[in-house]
């Protein structure tokens, strides 16, 4: 299983020749034309205070258009696999830049790694450019191969679906060559599921074709009449009853028409390479691929789509690295055409809601725990830092102190503004509303570390953004009535809950968040200078504490058990883990665009989804 298909090798061989000719220029071009795919996501990068486009890199929506894989922070194991898949989808020469983390084991080592700050990023990009300009990265395919990619291929016998091997070979029953197919489901999907591993593709197609030729010989065992199933012959001919040509019958024909229809409608693996006329039977990838199939049979089990037509389904993963969704959030939608029949969202970066495992380790003292939790939630670190501080202080029996209450509120509200701006940028990304994305991201970067005075200076800009959005044509008609949630549904929190009263659709949520931005500005004015919440000295106390903080996405509750200043166990309950349950209701029966918008309007942060 080489890392590049024959076609691509020849292709890149020509290109190598061209490369040798204008090496200098092409290398310079590579250096000048950097476009990066950010893992886990753009929102995370901005939340870390990174302004990627300022370094002269374009931010790419798909791995196809990217040549730099920019890994921000530490990746969970699942995200590591996703990153590998995405890397495999990027055209060569491709590079890896890791900021403030380690390269996932399944990837080749990082070409440039640096700290998690704007300066470090700029410096890293500079080094990368120099390396590229020197032509360090030839187009020649480097053998990159990862278990993640292999895990997706299994080998089945076309005639005996029950025969499934891990290695290519021949079927023990009929001796036919086994056909490669995607194992699919149990493996995590990247942003672009449909061809995870062009790396294996060609070998894959080859085996298909080989199998087809075999199919011509062996598979054509029985012939039957489309109209009169009782007619079964060993050789082709015409039906004695109706004179129609007999057609090949294949074993296991009548199993799972639904899947067959499914795999054929998303035209799973039609390769017409060479043979045009459908004389041969494929067997390989779908059941009942031959003979006459009653369309009524095929369609009768299919669900009716919105307009009452039985359409076949196509399960498409969106995310976890998808421009329209928060990084780390994976939305799996079952589509018929452009309509969503069902879907659910899962988080690949969520943290565990209950930590009991600290008994063994004594490292988990209060400060470490604060660091652990706020690091685990990059989109709203301050809120959770504050949450832990409050919980621990309560466990320690300290009174809420008025001294730095103002500072803490200030910090919380500042983060709320930044977070809502981040959501606006995300909305812009989803709606292809470039201006909003740029504006909101810029403001978010300014707000993140701003102090009271600079926030006051930013206030007009923020208010104009709000009013301008209210007046933007098409925006209201796009958002009105999208993602409607019943007002009385109990598990709503935060902005979503507060928006439920005035309409409870995406438009209401937008206005609610805009309102909260200005409200927070007011609070900061009246409150104290924003400062990162610091834990007051609690000593080696023991006890249990519980606290609630209204994070930007809704109340989060934390209860923890403290022993001699060490956190023994905690229980976390966040808004997002409630909201993510709403997704199936929200997307069902919607158009694709509306469904994505509805999910986006919830502002789900996969990091806060607890399992």
């Amino acid at each position: 299983m080489t890392s590049v298909s024959p076609i691509n090798t020849t292709g890149s061989r020509q290109r190598q020749a061209r490369f040798a000719r204008l090496q200098k220029w092409v290398s310079r071009a590579f250096a000048r034309d950097l476009s990066c795919l950010i893992v886990p996501g753009q929102d995370v990068a901005v939340a870390h205070g990174l302004n990627v486009s300022a370094t002269g890199m374009r931010v790419s929506a798909s791995p196809r258009d990217a040549n730099v894989l920019l890994i921000v922070g530490v990746l969970s194991e699942k995200m590591g696999e996703v990153a590998t898949v995405l890397y495999a989808q990027m055209p060569r020469p491709r590079t890896i830049v890791v900021l403030g983390g380690t390269t996932p084991s399944s990837l080749p080592g990082a070409d440039v790694s640096a700290g998690l700050s704007q300066e470090a990023l700029a410096d890293a990009v500079g080094r990368l450019k120099r390396a590229l300009a020197e032509g360090a990265f030839a187009v020649s395919p480097m053998d990159f191969d990862a278990s993640v990619l292999h895990a997706r291929i299994e080998y089945v016998c076309p005639m005996h679906p029950e025969v499934v091997e891990d290695e290519p070979g021949s079927c023990p029953k009929c001796g036919m060559d086994l056909v490669a197919r995607e194992a699919g489901e149990q493996t995590p999907e990247g942003g672009h599921d449909h061809e995870h591993h062009h790396d294996h593709d060609h070998s894959n197609e080859h085996s298909n074709e080989r199998q087809q030729e075999h199919a011509h010989e062996n598979a054509a065992t029985e012939y039957t009449c489309p109209m009169h199933p009782e007619i079964v012959r060993d050789e082709p001919g015409s039906c004695p009853k109706c004179g129609m040509d007999l057609v090949v019958r294949e074993d296991g024909e009548d199993e799972g028409h639904a899947e067959h229809e499914h795999s054929s409608h998303d035209h799973g693996e039609h390769d017409h390479s060479g043979h045009e006329h459908g004389g041969h039977d494929h067997g390989g990838h779908d059941h009942g691929a031959s003979g006459f199939m009653s369309m009524i049979e095929v369609t009768k089990d299919l669900p009716r789509s919105a307009d009452g037509l039985q359409m076949d389904w196509l399960e498409v993963p969106f995310g976890p690295v998808f421009p329209g969704l928060a990084g780390g959030l994976k939305l799996t939608l079952t589509l018929d055409g452009d309509g969503v029949t069902e879907g659910q969202a899962t988080s690949l970066v969520g943290l565990t809601s209950e930590g009991e495992n600290f008994e063994a380790s004594d490292e988990m003292d209060a400060e470490t725990f604060i660091g652990y939790l706020s690091a685990a939630i990059p989109l709203a670190p301050v809120s959770y830092r504050l949450l832990v501080c409050l919980a621990i202080e309560q466990a320690a029996g300290l009174e809420g102190d008025s001294a730095n209450a103002g500072a803490r509120t200030g910090a919380l509200e500042r983060e709320r503004i930044a977070s809502h701006l981040g959501w606006l940028a995300q909305l812009g990304r989803q709606l292809g509303f470039a201006w909003l994305t740029q504006r909101a991201a810029t403001l978010q970067l300014q707000v993140r570390e701003a102090n009271r005075d600079s926030l006051a200076a930013l206030e007009p800009a923020l208010r104009t953004l709000g009013t301008r959005l209210e007046r933007t044509p098409l925006l209201k008609s796009r958002l009105k009535g999208i993602g409607l949630l019943p007002t009385e549904s109990s598990d709503l929190r935060g902005p979503v809950a507060r928006a439920a009263d005035e309409g409870g659709d995406a438009w209401a949520r937008l206005r609610q968040r805009l309102a909260e931005i200005s409200a927070s500005l007011g609070l900061i004015k009246s409150g104290g200078e924003p400062a990162l919440p610091v834990l007051r000295d609690v000593g080696d106390v023991s006890g249990t504490g519980e606290a609630t903080v209204d994070t930007p996405r809704g109340e989060a509750r934390l209860s923890l058990k403290l022993e001699r200043g060490h956190v023994k166990s905690y229980k976390l309950d966040t808004a997002c883990s409630q909201h993510i349950g709403l997704v199936p209701k929200l997307v069902e029966g919607q158009e694709l665009g509306d469904a994505l918008l509805a999910v986006g309007s919830l502002d789900l942060s996969p990091w806060e989804v607890t399992s």
């Binding site: 035209h267 459908g278 990838h285 307009d307």
Partner: protein
């Protein structure tokens, strides 16, 4: 003269070739688009025969028409990708016989009958278009208007048939009438 003969022959062959592909491939997309290109070739044939307006019109109309044909193929075939390679035809011999005989008869008529002297020249495209317009809104206005009304009726009828009773928002009718 010879150039014209050449182009007529080339586009004629193209039209026939794509026409054959329509029923030879097992991928619905391919047969739909093959039909499209066959129609386009017919349009070019018109152009080669100095019938500019009709040619361009044909080329224009068929693009949309056949693309819509394509989506309906994908909707209504069990195996749009053609990976099953299933045989979607019946009564082959009879059909082939009918097709061949029809073609042969027509060709025989074309070859055997005496067409008399053929016109050497036609007026240029602009004059043609003008004259055609005059014709349409002059002598054969009635026919033309009837055609217009008919297709409007067909649009409405098709939409009415197509949309389900429960929700009237289906666009299928419109697609069909494009």
């Amino acid at each position: 003269m010879y150039a014209q003969a050449f182009f007529v022959a080339v586009f004629g062959l193209a039209a026939i070739g794509f026409g054959v592909v329509v029923f030879r491939t097992s991928s619905m997309m391919r047969s739909a688009l093959a039909l499209l290109f066959s129609m386009t070739a017919v349009g070019c044939l018109f152009l080669a025969m100095q019938t500019e307006f009709l040619g361009v019109l044909q080329i224009m109309m068929m693009a949309t028409e056949m693309s819509i044909m394509a989506i309906f193929m994908v909707m209504f075939m069990m195996d749009p990708g053609g990976l099953g390679g299933m045989d979607m035809s019946h009564q082959k011999r009879f059909s082939i016989g009918a097709g061949v005989s029809a073609a042969v008869v027509a060709i025989a008529v074309a070859l055997l009958s005496d067409w008399g002297p053929a016109a050497e020249q036609v007026v240029d495209a602009q004059a043609q278009t003008r004259a055609l317009g005059m014709e349409l809104l002059g002598r054969s206005m009635m026919i033309f208007e009837t055609a217009g009304i008919t297709i409007l009726t067909a649009m409405i009828a098709a939409t009415a048939v197509a949309i389900p009773v429960k929700n009237l928002s289906s666009k299928d009718g419109k697609e069909a009438s494009e």
